[in-house]
């Protein structure tokens, strides 16, 4: 029920952060995440940061999955040139 998008904090001014979402930035409010810092990856919903993204956990999740299931994605069938 909730679209939230990951972004990186570039600047903080008072309660507002300038967040970079992969090339596009938007102001997000930090009222729900007062200890956020510049450089943090956060999840933003409806213009508010709701939680920090734990990069370590993300890497570990993928690492564990890759160990079990292998890291070779199947390329889609290459169409004839």
């Amino acid at each position: 029920m909730c679209l939230a998008v990951p972004g990186k904090i570039k600047k903080i001014e008072g309660r507002l952060a300038e967040v970079d979402f992969g090339g596009v930035t938007r102001e997000s409010a930090l009222d729900l995440l007062a200890d956020a810092k510049v450089g943090d990856y956060i999840l933003v919903h409806a213009g508010y940061a709701i939680q920090k993204l734990d990069e370590q956990e993300a890497l570990e999740t993928i690492q564990l999955l890759e160990e079990v299931y292998g890291a070779d994605p199947e390329e889609p069938q290459e169409p004839s040139p």
């Binding site: 029920m1 909730c2 990951p6 729900l32 956990e57 993928i62 999955l65 299931y69 199947e74």
Partner: protein
């Protein structure tokens, strides 16, 4: 942070294989969250899962479960003089008894779609001569954001900003579904972003009192598949518990700051769910100290008598008792172009997602 691996086809394939090996006979899991319904459909996962595994949509679509009279109230607010009605886009086309916000806008009402409740606050500052009413729909991911906006309004002395409180809470709704006992469920795929706020503890009663496995899942294809595999493992082990698949954002304690803010401004109350009925302690009302922001108190309006569409199976669909295709109106009398019930009106609704993504 590169999250592309959470859509990796190789990992997805591996997880699908694992799921295949774990499915023994028919098993039905409830995916509670509307955003999960959309993610599952848009990634094409449903058709890749073994046929014996069914994913039932739950009541996690805030637009779908907003009662008709609240939609009617928002429409009535929009027609008041000197009011700017602000809303998330999701609510614009939802039909009430007679009209929708989109229809009201076509008739000249000032209705504006906003991305954030703070944008509504900005409008309040820019238009001191008008009353800005924000339609407060959403679950626990959203209600803390409106609580924060209300606090900011108080801080800044903004007195022309109001909220129509129509929020819903998830855990007690799940208890109601389990109590009804009408669905043979084997486990719950719990909402990732609601849980980012409330953590995993509020779901602990589900395995404890009802023996049902719970996994809190993220929204990328690999997240959803890993979560399904985790649920199947729990079923096989016979040891139900609450697990977090979405570890990069959900902590057991959630986001206590957000919860505190929500609890400062709001308190739980009984709430009506569209097509389902009253579920105790599943809504939010303004606390005494913040009642000045309550649009419902400040702007009394006359509402039309609510109309219940005959033949509509939305209530049962949202409780996982029936699939959209079980409804006699699905795809014939009830389509996204001409919707009868809320599940088809909202782009998140179970019926709209099934229709749009061709899951018949």
């Amino acid at each position: 942070m590169n999250l592309d691996k959470f859509s990796d086809p190789g990992l997805a394939k591996g997880l699908l294989g694992k799921i295949e090996s774990l499915v023994r006979g028919d098993v039905a899991l409830m995916e509670v969250c509307g955003t999960h319904t959309m993610a599952i459909a848009s990634s094409g996962i449903r058709n890749l899962l073994p046929k014996a595994l069914k994913l039932l949509s739950g009541p996690g679509c805030p637009v779908c479960v907003t009662p008709t009279h609240e939609v009617d109230r928002a429409v009535a607010f929009s027609k008041l003089p000197d009011v700017i009605l602000t809303t998330f886009g999701d609510m614009l086309r939802v039909t009430g008894s007679e009209s929708s916000l989109e229809q009201s806008k076509a008739e000249g009402a000032e209705v504006r779609v906003v991305y954030s409740p703070r944008d509504a606050l900005t409008l309040a500052r820019e238009h001191p001569d008008k009353s800005i009413i924000f339609v407060g729909v959403g679950f626990e991911t959203t209600s803390p954001t409106i609580a924060a906006t209300v606090k900011e309004a108080r801080e800044k002395g903004i007195i022309n900003f109001f909220v129509q409180p129509a929020f819903k809470l998830v855990p007690e709704a799940l208890r109601a579904i389990l109590e009804m006992g009408r669905v043979k469920l084997a486990g719950f795929l719990c909402p990732g972003h609601v849980s980012t706020i409330i953590g995993s503890r509020p779901y602990e009663f589900i395995p404890r009192d009802y023996g049902q496995p719970c996994v809190i899942a993220g929204f990328e294809p690999v997240d959803i598949l890993e979560a399904v595999a985790m649920l199947l493992e729990q079923i096989r082990s016979g040891k139900p518990r609450v697990e977090i698949q979405y570890r990069r954002t959900v902590k057991p304690e959630g986001n206590p700051q957000a919860v505190a803010l929500m609890e400062e401004v709001f308190e739980p109350c009984d709430s009506e769910w569209r097509a389902i009925g009253m579920i105790p302690q599943t809504g939010l009302a303004f606390r005494k100290g913040y009642k000045a922001f309550d649009a419902t108190k400040r702007f009394p309006v006359t509402l039309p008598a609510p109309v219940d569409p005959p033949g509509c199976l939305c209530g049962e669909v949202m409780m996982g008792i029936h699939a959209p295709r079980d409804c006699s109106l699905f795809g014939t009398g009830c389509t996204p172009a001409h919707p009868v019930g809320p599940c088809m009106v909202s782009s998140e609704g179970a019926c709209a997602a099934w229709y749009k993504y061709g899951e018949r």
